[in-house]
């Protein structure tokens, strides 16, 4: 289909501000009379605050006020694991206990040093298996596990059960959660090749470049909060509840966000923004709270780690008959996420497993705030299972590309425990495109070629994430100047989807992009509700809402034209910013004239009546403020059917040095399968950005804690290394299948998360290939692990251990 905007590059309106430094992040703002808050954070991994004496601090010149957990929770903290604004019950090092505001940061910091906090030390734990062991320490006050809607629980295995698991055997303890489909026993019985092993994947911090600084002030009863978020209106909607202010009285200002990656999608993962808001309310001054890199690390979030066991069976024809996976999730100090089930779901989707059983238990450790991180679950399992697929292929005499094609998800297939049909799926096409553009078959002759200590490895991998939600709202406006105002509540975290999804509305109204304004950046710009922007969903979700709002405006345009010019709405078409009679194009009205008439007519044309009944409260507030101010198109998006998948396929070639354990990625290609391409440059950026994240996941990113005291040992970029430009290929090739999805009006689906999983899968496959098929059953695979393997020794001081120096 020939589109005017869809599939075309454009300059998102914020890009010039990014290259000139003019765009503002939360910390770039200041306000007359602004004071500065600094945090006193927990020095202990697990403790209870017994007493706070701030007398001396508060007597200091320049100190304005103090904020404690008792201030923000006068009725006491809720008995749950989630991150609080401030707490008296820290379960991670660095958790905010109190804040002091002063005329400058130095004074605030000096005052903090004069605050006497008495802590009661509590047992802490870094390794979930240590906590699971009978008599082992618990990360939380109420146990070592927290189940949503059920509360705290204490999960304990016998020492023998833990030892058996560490020794590489299937866990025998009862899991918290079991999900299964198909006849697992029969499927294994029909398998020609069966692989079974324990495995680990590491947790590691998000490390967004912008620390989560925030500034707040109150004016005329409204809270103005400058913060950071990857989901502008969705996060503001919930942040109002956290601060305790009516939604209509919170103005959340967030023009640009310096990275999210899952940790700034929802208000409850970044409640620290409420600290300056509450402090400002208390002391009646604007409050800036700058967050340091160390603080960003300690309470800023991290990926859930896995200690697991997997058994897979493949039939002689290469199809995956069965997968049995048991995962102990390291949920950290604040409760974790649903990564483990998502990992099993990913296996089912990507490899179309005939029978699957997932068993999972989530265990707390005092190792940071774990939660959603780019592909939570899907991307941990991708690098684990890819080398297993290769081993099966080699064993069954099937090519490694062919075994993936055999197990591919296609339109008409289903996936996951719910056996949900795909809205569309073109994995075979993605595999074929990657293979052909990478000359995969021709490169096979280079496999395992040696040059001194260096050896070539080839890898191919796949990534998946569910990539689309629905049920949100859309608003478009037009004034008498005829310009189209695209009200978009999507956060600006660097994907440019706030702008690219808006183009679906411009497409409907055949509007030149130059005549459109994207309205975004702050909630008093009157934005509709969106889904939280996690799970690769923005593209699918918000093109639907923008399209729908524009369709509403289009129908109203034709109705106005029919009223004024005679005939029925069906007699009219649009083009060149005019509504005109199909029979005689000279009879028509400009968009500006239509908008003027709409404002004269009022009622449904200006949002004053006949609104969709299902609009969210948040949207209704925005619509109420806009009503009567212009010509309005407004829409509530109904739920879609099926699973819109985002898929990526990556192929790579590496040269691995068996003497140093290091490898260089000689070449890499990533192919996106995400429906119609919405914004080619944006898609390319997601693919190359995901590649860099995949390189980190498979290569070196991890959490390290001091086992003696539970102190984080990797609180910055230096100790918790993220990939630099020198760790990544000079050029990453990209491409896309570009076939439309029927559940989206412009055919698009999301891609951000699978772009990472495919690369990590391809890399571990390539490492395994270079080492004659050895499978590490781990991510990351660090240089020392490779060197130790080549030397014939184990890297594991404590098998399956996580998070600490011993593991």
């Amino acid at each position: 289909m020939a589109y005017m905007h869809i599939g075309k590059d454009f300059v998102p309106p914020d890009v010039p501000g990014k290259v000139t430094g003019k765009i503002k992040y939360a910390e770039d703002y200041s306000r007359e009379g602004m004071v500065y808050a600094r945090l006193l954070t927990s020095p202990l991994p697990h403790a209870k605050v017994v007493n706070i004496d701030a007398t001396e601090a508060l007597a200091m010149e320049g100190v304005i006020g103090i904020l404690t957990a008792d201030d923000v929770y006068p009725d006491g903290e809720t008995n749950s694991t989630g991150l609080k604004i401030l707490t008296n019950n820290p379960t991670i090092v660095g958790e905010p206990i109190l804040a002091i505001a002063a005329i400058d940061e130095k004074t605030a910091e000096t005052a903090l040093a004069k605050v006497s906090v008495t802590f009661e030390r509590l047992p802490f734990v870094l390794d979930p298996l240590e906590s699971l062991t009978e008599g082992g320490p618990d990360a939380y006050d109420g146990g070592n596990s927290f189940v949503f809607r059920q509360g705290f629980a204490s999960e304990k295995w016998s020492a023998d059960q833990v030892a058996s698991f560490r020794a590489g055997n299937e866990p025998t303890a009862e899991p918290q959660q079991t999900v299964a489909y198909g006849d697992l026993e029969a499927a294994f019985a029909s398998s020609e090749f069966v692989y079974e092993s324990t495995f680990t994947t590491a947790g590691y911090p998000h490390q967004s470049m912008e620390p989560r600084s925030a500034m707040a002030y109150w004016e005329d009863g409204k809270l103005y909060l400058h913060g950071t978020s990857q989901s502008l209106s969705a996060l503001a909607n919930d942040m109002a509840g956290i601060v305790g202010v009516p939604k209509e009285d919170l103005v959340f200002i967030n023009v640009a966000t310096g990275g999210g990656f899952g940790q700034r999608a929802r208000a409850n993962s970044i409640p620290s923004m409420a600290i300056p808001a509450k402090m400002s309310q208390k002391i009646n001054r604007p409050v800036m709270m700058r967050v340091t890199r160390e603080e960003e690390f300690t309470f800023g979030g991290a990926r859930v780690g896995f200690q697991g066991w997997i058994k897979t069976g493949f039939k002689a024809d290469g199809s995956m008959a069965a997968c049995d996976v048991y995962i102990v999730s390291d949920n950290g100090g604040k409760g974790g996420g649903g990564d483990a089930y998502s990992a099993a779901d990913c296996i089912s989707v990507l490899y179309q497993t005939e029978a699957l059983r997932f068993r999972g238990t989530g265990i707390g450790t005092n190792t940071g705030h774990r939660g959603a991180q780019r592909g939570p679950g899907q991307n941990q399992i991708a690098p684990i299972i890819s080398p297993i697929l290769d081993k099966a292929a080699d064993s069954l005499g099937i090519s490694r590309l062919e075994i993936r094609k055999i197990n591919s998800a296609m339109t008409g297939d289903v996936g996951g425990a719910q056996r949900t049909p795909f809205t569309s799926a073109y994995m075979p096409e993605a595999l074929e495109m990657a293979a052909s553009r990478f000359n995969w078959e021709d490169r096979q002759s280079r496999r395992r070629q040696r040059n001194g200590s260096k050896v070539i490895g080839l890898g191919i991998g796949q990534g998946y994430h569910n990539a689309g939600r629905s049920g949100m709202d859309g608003i478009v406006m037009m004034g008498p100047d005829g310009r189209l105002k695209l009200h978009n509540g999507v956060g600006n975290l660097g994907t440019y989807s706030y702008a690219s999804t808006s183009r679906a509305a411009a497409e409907v109204l055949k509007m030149p992009w130059e005549s459109c304004d994207v309205i975004n950046g702050r909630t008093d710009n009157n934005l509709p509700i969106t889904s939280p922007q996690d799970g690769s969903n923005s593209t699918f979700t918000n093109t639907r809402t923008m399209w729908g709002a524009a369709q509403d405006m289009l129908a109203k345009m034709k109705e106005i034209a029919a009223t004024d010019l005679g005939g029925s709405p069906e007699d009219f078409d649009i083009g060149d910013e005019r509504v005109f009679k199909i029979a005689d194009a000279s009879v028509g009205m400009t968009y500006a004239q239509v908008a003027q008439r709409a404002m004269e007519l009022g009622g449904k044309f200006t949002g004053q009546s006949d609104l969709p009944e299902e609009l969210a409260d948040f949207t209704l507030i925005s619509v109420g403020r806009l009503a009567g101010t212009g010509f309005m198109g407004v829409y509530h998006d109904p739920r879609h059917e099926g699973n819109p998948p985002g898929f990526t396929v990556t192929a790579c070639e590496i040269e691995l040095d068996t003497e140093t354990g290091k490898y260089e990625i000689l070449d890499m290609i990533s192919i996106g399968e995400c429906g119609t391409v919405l914004h080619p440059q944006g898609l390319k950026n997601q693919l190359v950005g995901g590649a860099v994240w995949g390189i980190g996941l498979s290569g070196y990113e991890r959490h390290l804690y001091d086992p003696q005291n539970g102190l984080p040992a990797s609180t910055g970029y230096w100790q918790s290394k993220v990939p630099t430009i020198l760790d990544t290929p000079s050029k990453i090739q990209t491409g896309w299948v570009d076939l439309p999805d029927p559940e989206n009006p412009v055919g698009v689906r999301g891609i951000g998360e699978p772009a990472m999983g495919a690369v990590s899968a391809a890399l571990t496959a390539a490492i395994s290939d270079a080492l004659d098929g050895h499978i590490f059953n781990a991510a990351p695979i660090t240089a020392d692990m490779i060197v130790n393997h080549v030397a014939g020794v184990s890297s594991e001081a404590v098998p399956l251990a996580q998070n600490n120096f011993r593991g």
Binding site: D9, V11, P12, D14, V15, G17, K18, V19, T20, G21, K22, I23, K24, E27, D28, Y36, R38, D104, E105, K106, T107, E109, T110, Q207, S208, M209, E210, P211, A256, G258, G259, G260, F261, R290, T292, R293, E294, L493, G494, T495, Q681, G682, K684, N685, V688, G689, G690, A691, V692, G716, Y717, W718, V722, T724, I725, L726, T728, P729, S730, K731
Partner: protein, 200 residues
């Protein structure tokens, strides 16, 4: 491969730390951080008015002895385009040019900047508003993602191209090696640098 990477030997981390210690800042690492960022300096510290050459203009500013250039630029001169990502010389978000040399503004003391020519991302646009070729190329290649590292990437690229107007892609890669992009937009930044070299 011998890449053309500019390094300012006068502005080493060692020199920075020695300067901070000499200024009497707190000895702990966190104290060092805040001392270097205090708006008005620690109690008893004497601010001195110095003149800085920033983006071609002479700016007079009160500076505490231990104050970093990043802090001065952002919090006293209002040049918030220079970002602070780590404040300890790890990420490169605060990269500026000092006498044409790429420099981490978080890791040099402002009082050591006297007589030097400081350029920040705000100083690159021409008087008529035209973007610098690097900025223009970064727009055309959609190099930024979240944009937080972008001012630093821009300044690193400008510094590289002044020293080496026609770098190979590998030389450009080495030239940007001091700047982390957590979004992973390295490929697009490299595309931008190569385009900027063509625009000249």
């Amino acid at each position: 491969m011998e890449a053309n990477v500019a390094v300012n030997s006068k502005l080493t981390r060692r020199r920075f730390i020695k300067g901070v210690i000499a200024s009497g800042a707190a000895a702990t690492s966190s104290g060092l951080w805040y001392a270097a960022n205090g708006q008005s300096g620690p109690a008893g510290a004497v601010e001195r008015m110095i003149r800085l050459n920033v983006n071609g203009q002479t700016r007079t500013v009160d500076v505490a002895p231990q104050e970093t250039l990043a802090s001065t630029l952002r919090y006293k001169l209002g040049l918030t385009g220079t970002k602070i990502g780590c404040n300890r010389g790890e990420c490169g978000a605060c990269t500026v040019l000092v006498d044409d040399i790429t420099t981490y503004a978080c890791s040099v003391l402002t009082h050591s900047m006297k007589g030097m020519r400081i350029e920040t991302v705000e100083g690159l646009e021409s008087a008529n508003g035209d973007l610098h070729p690097v900025q223009q190329a970064f727009v055309e290649e959609l190099s930024p993602q979240c944009g937080y590292c972008t001012p630093g990437q821009v300044m690193a690229a400008v510094g590289l191209l002044r020293a080496n107007p026609s770098p190979s892609r590998e030389e450009a890669r080495q030239g940007l090696a001091g700047n982390i992009c957590r979004c992973g937009s390295y490929d697009s930044y490299l595309d931008g640098v190569m385009r900027a070299a063509q625009i000249g």
